[in-house]
């Protein structure tokens, strides 16, 4: 995918997340993009590693800044206690208008992820995204208890019951997402 084409997907995701009351700080976008790319197979090409609050892409952080430099995104301070939120910038219409075909192709997948993650807080997102990370690891155990234990081993501040719930939720998202990617 070309850069501005990718930007159109990120913009759509941010807008859909905002519509569902997401804070849309960088962590929200990082985790949502991880699901869009890894679960619903939208080929954005970001490399994710286990870092801050679970899977994290340094390239995505760079790209979000570069999109701000190009006025495609902007930062907004909504509450002094928290980090800033991403909002569409003045070139939003130009990019969205230009890549209608791309957005149309991935619309269902973007909506799906926004629906599932839009109302989640950072701690919940960390848990779910780490569960997906574990689920996608090579040699991931089928046993859900073992998956939960692996999450706790990677992120010791996550409790085992929370990890177990996240494993279940991700498993059901997998089944739903398979139908989306088949379409």
């Amino acid at each position: 995918m070309k850069r501005l084409q990718k930007a159109s997907v990120l913009l759509s995701l941010i807008e859909e997340m905002r519509d569902r009351e997401s804070w849309c700080g960088e962590t929200n976008i990082q985790k949502a993009t991880y699901f869009v790319q890894e679960l619903t197979k939208v080929p954005l090409g970001f490399e994710f590693v286990l870092y801050r609050y679970g899977p994290y892409s340094f390239e995505l952080t760079d790209e979000l800044t570069a999109l701000r430099a190009d006025s495609i995104l902007e930062l907004e301070v909504r509450d002094p206690r928290y980090g800033p939120c991403f909002v569409p910038g003045k070139l939003r219409d130009l990019v969205i208008g230009r890549f209608q075909k791309t957005i149309g192709r991935f619309r269902e997948r973007i909506d799906f992820v926004a629906e599932k993650l839009g109302n989640k807080k950072v701690a919940q997102l960390e848990c779910l995204a780490t569960a997906l990370y574990v689920r996608l690891e090579k040699g991931c155990p089928k046993d859900t208890n073992k998956q939960a234990k692996r999450i706790v081993a990677l992120k010791p501040h996550i409790s085992e019951p929370s990890a177990a719930r996240a494993v279940k939720e991700v498993e059901s998202m997998f089944i739903e997402a398979e139908q989306l990617t088949e379409n």
Binding site: V49, R81, K101
Partner: protein
């Protein structure tokens, strides 16, 4: 190394430790060990750079190699392992490497929170001492004042802080509220140095010629065998460049001649906010159209958008509460991001190309890329 040590001592001093982050910081001998690891990591941070730093790194290093990966290779080399092992308290090379380049460059290695904070002291977007050091040094050597800021006040107010007051937040580097202005000073200095020095069009043009020279001379690839790599320094390059400029049969003669005789490429087009509103990739469009019209040899394109802003970090207020830097600093909220888009042209056809562009510019810029594949 000196700045890293100062930052380390400040953030780990008992009186500066916020109760919410205390458990992240090791105690006793462990703390002394990590201070040494950090010092060595800071010392070695730039050890893997090619001659003339970033100039031709992408073009000359084989796929998958970067100056950071070479830094790691050198830190873990047999010769260095001997040094790390012979210290009074032996140091582990993999930990030095982690702190020296950070997780961005060592994606396959898990970092714990402490290692992440220490690597942030060196390579962090907001308060990395690598940046503090190069801004101050480059500013001095380039004879400009843009890169200066109050490093003493800034380092004295650095703290390990939770990102917000909410429970479960990860710890990062931030500042006490009294250090906010010096943090603004650092980030402004960075903005000025990037726009006025590092991405000054003449400097970029020389960089492109140097790049061309190195590629032509070295046959497109620099040796990554450590001994050969370390033997190639700025001095070897300068000597060869001087020879090449005077020898028309040298493969790097043309770019060397341009550097030596100051016949560098000039700016044909640079980013204009009105153009960028119509086409964020206006420079690419101009470059492609110019190459189609006049051929590839006389044009070069330089596009850079800032990749990390470093403007978002926690600030500890006097009452102990944490606020976002952007909520308390109008300067940081409005700090521009560097956005460079140059098309360079050879001086030989500058006039003709300039006239052509003046006539065609609007039409060229209106052409957004069509390919949605």
């Amino acid at each position: 190394m000196e700045l890293a040590e100062r930052a380390f001592r400040i953030i780990t001093a008992e009186e500066n430790l916020d109760s919410r982050v205390r458990e992240v910081v090791p105690a006793g001998d462990d703390l002394v060990y990590w201070r040494r690891v950090l010092r060595m990591a800071a010392l070695c941070h730039d050890i893997g750079h090619l001659p003339f730093s970033h100039s031709a790194e992408k073009e000359l290093l084989p796929e998958g190699k970067t100056h950071e990966s070479l830094t790691v290779d050198i830190i873990k080399s047999e010769e260095m392992e001997e040094i790390w092992g012979s210290l009074t308290i032996p140091l582990r090379s993999e930990q030095i490497a982690k702190l020296a380049v950070g997780q961005k460059e060592l994606k396959d290695q898990p970092f714990n929170q402490w290692e992440r904070i220490l690597s942030e002291i060196i390579v962090g977007d907001s308060f990395g001492v690598d940046r503090m050091d190069y801004l101050l040094r480059d500013s001095l050597h380039a004879g400009v004042v843009y890169g200066k800021f109050d490093q003493y006040r800034l380092i004295d107010t650095l703290r390990i802080l939770p990102e917000t007051d909410e429970a479960g937040e990860e710890s990062v580097l931030g500042v006490e509220s009294g250090g906010l202005e010096s943090a603004e000073g650092l980030l402004l200095a960075r903005y000025f140095m990037y726009s006025q020095v590092y991405y000054h069009p003449v400097r970029r043009a020389y960089d492109l010629h140097l790049q061309d020279f190195l590629i032509a001379w070295l046959g497109g690839q620099v040796p990554t065998d450590l001994n050969a790599f370390l033997a190639l320094t700025d001095n070897e390059v300068l000597v060869e460049l001087s020879k090449a400029a005077n020898d028309p049969s040298h493969p790097g003669h043309e770019p060397a001649r341009r550097i030596a005789s100051r016949e560098h490429f000039r700016v044909l087009y640079e980013r204009n906010p009105n153009d960028a509103d119509k086409n964020p990739d206006a420079g690419t469009a101009v470059f492609k159209a110019a190459c189609d019209k006049f051929g590839n040899d006389d044009f070069r394109h330089e596009r850079y958008t800032q990749k990390s802003s470093g403007t978002v970090f926690p600030v500890k207020e006097r009452d102990g509460r944490i606020v976002s830097s952007l909520a308390v600093s109008e300067v940081l909220k409005n700090l521009p991001l560097v956005n460079i888009d140059y098309v360079f042209v050879s001086p030989e056809i500058r006039g003709e190309a300039g006239k052509w562009l003046e006539e065609q510019r609007e039409q060229i810029i209106a052409q957004l890329e069509e390919d949605e594949q």
